[in-house]
C-alpha cells in the first residue's frame, strides 16, 4: 500500500454508459484536468457496447482508449468488471481512476479501491491536486456544508458529478486503441433476474434542459397529472422530492436530491416543495431555479432566481394555458 499518490501519473476514466453525452464529456474533461497536472496519460476505459462514432470522440480527446467488450450488461457482471479493472490498474498503475455518477459506478468505486489498496470517495464536484495528492470537493451534512477531502492512498478512485466538469477539447494527436474481451473470470455470486425501466417519454433527467418538479405540498399523486401537462407544454421532464417518492405518488427514478439524481437544467421549476438542503444537493448545478410556494419563507426561495408566492392550485392550470398560447 503506497502512502501517497504518485507511483504513477496516468489517469483512467471508466465509462460504462455507452454514449458520448454530456456526462461522458464531463468525465473526460475531469480526467484531462488531472492528467494536465500530473503530466501523465489520459486513458479512457470503456465497458459495454460502444458505437464507433462515440469511440472516435474518446480517441480524439484521450492518449489511449482501452475498449472492454462485454458479453453481459455491466450490472449483470460486476465481478468480471471488477476483475478486469483490477488487472488494468495493476498494469497501468494510475494516480487516479475516475467514474461518472450512476448506481453501478457508486457500487464499483469503493470495491475497486479496496482491492487496489487505494482510497475512494464519491460525488466530487471539483478535483484538485495538492502535495501530490488528489483532493475532492463535495457537499456534506445534507448540503449544509462543503468539504475538501484528501485521498491519502493511491490510486484515488473517485466518482464525480460528471456534468459539473467542463468538456475537454481534442488533443493534437489522436489516441491509440486497444480492445480486450472481458472474460467471465469468476462466477458471478449474484444473479440478475429481471431488468425494468420506468416509462419515460423524453431524455433522461440528468440530460434534461427543463425540469418541472413536485414536492410534498402537492398532497397526493393527482396534482402530478397537472404538472405533467405543464411539463409537456414546454418540453420539460418530470422530477420530484424524496417525500413525494417515498409516499408512493411517483416512481423513485424521479427523485432528485442527495440520494436521488443530480440534475443540471437551464430551468428547474419547483412546485409545492420546501427545498430541504438534501433536495438542494441535487440541483446545485441548475442554471435557474424558480418556485411556486405558499410560504414566502420556504428555504427554496433562497436558491431561486424568481418565484411566486401562491397556492399551486391557482397557478399551474392558467400557467399551462398561457404557455400554450405563447408557443403559437
Amino acid at each position: 500500500m503506497s502512502e501517497t499518490s504518485g507511483n504513477g501519473s496516468d489517469i483512467l476514466c471508466v465509462l460504462s454508459s455507452n454514449e458520448w453525452d454530456r456526462s461522458a464529456e464531463g468525465l473526460v474533461g475531469a480526467g484531462r484536468l488531472l492528467s494536465d497536472k500530473t503530466g501523465g496519460k489520459l486513458i479512457a476505459v470503456t465497458l459495454g457496447e460502444w458505437q464507433d462514432s462515440a469511440l472516435k470522440q474518446l480517441g480524439a480527446r484521450c492518449h489511449q482508449v482501452r475498449v472492454g467488450q462485454t458479453q453481459v450488461s455491466v450490472s449483470g457482471g460486476i465481478e468480471s468488471m471488477l476483475d478486469y479493472l483490477v488487472k488494468l490498474a495493476e498494469e497501468i498503475q494510475p494516480a487516479s481512476i475516475l467514474f461518472g455518477n450512476g448506481t453501478v459506478e457508486e457500487e464499483i468505486s469503493p470495491r475497486l479501491a479496496f482491492r487496489l489498496g487505494g482510497s475512494s470517495i464519491g460525488d466530487a464536484q471539483a478535483l484538485t491536486i495538492s502535495n501530490n495528492r488528489i483532493q475532492v470537493t463535495r457537499s456534506v451534512y445534507g448540503g449544509k456544508a462543503t468539504a475538501v477531502m484528501e485521498l491519502q492512498k493511491s490510486p484515488a478512485v473517485v466518482w464525480i458529478r460528471s456534468r459539473a466538469f467542463p468538456p475537454a477539447g481534442p488533443l493534437p494527436q489522436s489516441g491509440s486503441f486497444e480492445t480486450t474481451v472481458i472474460q467471465e473470470t469468476s462466477p458471478e455470486s449474484i444473479e440478475l433476474l429481471q431488468h425494468h425501466e420506468d416509462a419515460s417519454e423524453g431524455v433522461s433527467l440528468e440530460e434534461a434542459t427543463m425540469i418541472v418538479s413536485g414536492g410534498r405540498g402537492l398532497g397526493g399523486p393527482e396534482p402530478f397529472e397537472d404538472l405533467k401537462a405543464l411539463a409537456a407544454t414546454i418540453g420539460a421532464e418530470m422530477a420530484a422530492s424524496r417525500a413525494a417518492c417515498d409516499a408512493g405518488w411517483v416512481p423513485h427514478s424521479w427523485q432528485v436530491g442527495q440520494t436521488g439524481k443530480k440534475v443540471t437544467p437551464e430551468l428547474y421549476l419547483a412546485v409545492a416543495m420546501s427545498g430541504s438542503s438534501q433536495h438542494m444537493m441535487g440541483i446545485t448545478d441548475a442554471r435557474n431555479i424558480a418556485a411556486v410556494n405558499t410560504d414566502p419563507d420556504a428555504p427554496i426561495f433562497k436558491h431561486c432566481r424568481f418565484g411566486i408566492v401562491e397556492d399551486y392550485r391557482n397557478v399551474i392550470g392558467p400557467l399551462t394555458e398561457k404557455l400554450k398560447s405563447r408557443k403559437k
Binding site: 450490472s75 449544509k144 484528501e150 429481471q194 425501466e197 409516499a247 424568481f306 411566486i308 392558467p318 404557455l323
Partner: protein
C-alpha cells in the same frame, strides 16, 4: 435465520441551517447544538429486516453500531422497534474515522459475533454521505454485495431482492451471507415503537465491544492512517436574490411567470 443490521448514529440532519455550525479544529459539525439520531437509511434497513424476520419466523435480528457512548440511544430505539439483540462497538477515537476504517472495525466485530444469513446497512449516512461502508464491509468479509435494495424475499437458494436503478429497478438472486445496502421506498418507512416496547428496551442488555476485544490497535487509527480525510470544511455562501413576482392580480403574476419561463426556453 440470523440477520444483522449495522446502524449509525448521526447529528440530526433535520436541524435548521441557522443551528448548524462547524468545529474548525476537528473538521466536523459542531455537535453541541443538535440531537443525535439514527441515520434514516439505517432505520429503513432495520425496518426491512424486521419485515423479513416476521415473514419467515424462527429468526433473529442483531443490531450493531460503531459509535460513541451516545449511540446507546440508537440501539435502545432499535430494540424498541423489536430487534432481538444489540451490540455497541465503542468508538473512543479522537477523530471520526473514514468509511474504510469503519468497515474494518465492523467486520472484526461481526466476525466475533458469529455468522449471519444476511447483513444490512443503510445506503449512506446523512452526515458525511460517503455511501461506502456497505461496499467496504462486503470486501472485508469477502462476501457478495448488492446496494440500493428496497425489497427482500427469502428463497430456497438465498434471497431475491429488488434494487433501485437510475431509470427503474432490477431483481437479483443473491446467496446467503451477502451484504445489502438499503434505500428508502414506500414500504420501508421505519415503524414507531410502542411505549411498552420502549420501556422494555431499557431492560435489555447491550453487548459492549472495545478495540481491545477486537485486537485492533487504537494508536494505529488516526486521520493520517485513514484513506480519506477532510482537509477543509465550511458552510458555503449562498446568493439569495429571488425576484418575487408581484402584480395587480394573480392573472398578471402568472403572465409574468409565463414570460420568464419562455425567456429561458428561448435560449435553448
Amino acid at each position: 435465520m440470523k440477520l444483522l443490521v449495522c446502524i449509525k448514529q448521526i447529528l440530526d440532519p433535520e436541524i435548521p441551517v441557522r443551528d448548524f455550525s462547524i468545529d474548525r479544529e476537528k473538521l466536523e459539525a459542531d455537535s453541541a447544538n443538535a440531537n443525535q439520531v439514527t441515520n434514516i437509511f439505517c432505520e429503513n434497513a432495520l425496518e426491512t429486516a424486521l419485515q423479513l424476520r416476521d415473514s419467515v419466523g424462527e429468526s433473529s435480528i442483531t443490531v450493531i453500531c460503531f459509535g460513541r457512548e451516545s449511540a446507546e440511544d440508537s440501539l435502545r430505539k432499535a430494540l424498541a422497534m423489536k430487534a432481538d439483540e444489540a451490540c455497541l462497538v465503542m468508538n473512543d477515537l479522537n477523530h471520526t474515522p473514514d468509511s474504510a476504517t469503519t468497515a474494518h472495525v465492523l467486520a472484526s466485530a461481526i466476525e466475533s459475533l458469529g455468522s449471519f444469513d444476511l447483513i444490512f446497512t443503510g445506503r449512506e449516512s446523512g452526515d458525511w454521505g460517503n455511501g461506502q461502508t456497505g461496499a467496504y464491509l462486503a470486501e472485508e468479509l469477502k462476501v457478495p454485495y448488492l446496494p440500493f435494495v428496497d425489497d427482500i424475499k427469502q428463497t430456497d437458494k438465498g434471497f431475491e431482492v429488488r434494487r433501485q436503478t437510475e431509470s427503474g429497478w432490477e431483481r437479483y438472486g443473491i446467496p446467503a451471507s451477502s451484504v445489502v445496502t438499503i434505500t428508502n421506498s414506500d414500504h420501508n418507512l421505519p415503524r414507531i415503537p410502542k411505549t411498552r416496547d420502549i420501556m422494555m428496551s431499557h431492560r435489555k442488555t447491550i453487548t459492549r465491544v472495545s478495540f481491545e476485544d477486537l485486537k485492533i490497535r487504537k494508536d494505529e487509527l488516526n486521520p493520517q492512517s485513514d484513506s480519506v480525510r477532510p482537509v477543509k470544511l465550511f458552510v458555503p455562501e449562498k446568493e439569495s436574490a429571488c425576484e418575487f413576482i408581484e402584480g395587480e392580480n394573480l392573472n398578471a403574476k402568472i403572465d409574468q411567470l409565463a414570460d420568464k419561463i419562455m425567456e429561458i426556453r428561448s435560449t435553448l
